[in-house]
């Protein structure tokens, strides 16, 4: 069974304090790994798609990386507006292209 585990469940940072969120996965065959940001009461907002080990993508203060077993979302010098829940999901080659989501990491950045 395809599984996605995100850690930590919650993370509190001071503004400017860099850190990383982890997404480990067990899948039969990875087609893609997706990162989303979700603000309270809103739908997830797409951030990145990674397709192969070694791939990296960046957007403002966020950088996503991928290995054969996990992905990291690095947040450099975060600001309070980066506070949100960050969701990781995997898509496999088998069957329909559904996304299997982790339960997310709640990030709080204090000024």
């Amino acid at each position: 069974e395809d599984q996605v585990t995100q850690s930590p469940e919650a993370l509190r940072l001071q503004e400017g304090e860099s850190s990383s969120l982890n997404c480990s996965y067990t899948v039969s065959g990875l087609r893609g790994l997706f990162w989303y940001r979700q603000d309270p009461g809103k739908g997830p907002e797409f951030l990145f798609t990674l397709y192969s080990a070694g791939e990296e993508k960046e957007k403002e203060r966020l950088k996503a990386t991928l290995t054969k077993k996990e992905s990291f979302l690095h947040i450099t010098a975060p600001k309070p507006e980066d506070s949100a829940t960050y969701l990781c999901a995997v898509q496999t080659h088998t069957g329909f292209q559904k996304l299997v989501f982790g339960t997310g990491t709640r990030l709080l950045v204090s000024p």
Binding site: V4, F34, Y36, G41, K42, G43, P44, E45, F46, T49, L87, A89, F96, Q97, K98, L99, V100, F101, G102, T103, G104
Partner: protein, 111 residues
């Protein structure tokens, strides 16, 4: 650009009442459409997906059904709501075999 709409934004319904949630997508044609449910403390769970008009696939046996009467319209329904149907319902769309983009969601509370 593409836009996805969901309504209503919030809904409070008694147990045993019917349900109809609507999702529409603008700015694209023949999208794949999805219904997810997000329960507190749990990851997003795929409920239904559709690759075309009248084509619905169910991922999880439940008290809900879905229909796609038009290319860019996706409806989630129930004849009789259960307490366990409460949650945050998200509609998503994707180009064929690509990233999924989520709508703003509907918060459903069944009392």
């Amino acid at each position: 650009s593409q836009t996805i709409h969901q309504w209503p934004a919030t809904l409070v319904q008694p147990v045993g009442s019917p349900l109809s949630l609507e999702c529409t997508v603008e700015g694209t044609s023949n999208p794949n459409l999805y219904w997810y449910r997000q329960a507190a403390g749990r990851g997003l769970q795929l409920l239904f997906y559709s690759v075309g008009i009248g084509q619905i696939s169910s991922e999880v046996p439940q008290n809900l059904s879905a229909s796609r009467p038009q290319d860019r319209q996706f409806i989630l329904s129930s004849k009789k709501l259960l307490l366990s149907d409460s949650g945050f319902y998200l509609c998503a769309w994707s180009p064929q075999r690509d990233t999924q983009y989520f709508g703003p969601g509907t918060r459903l509370t069944v009392l």
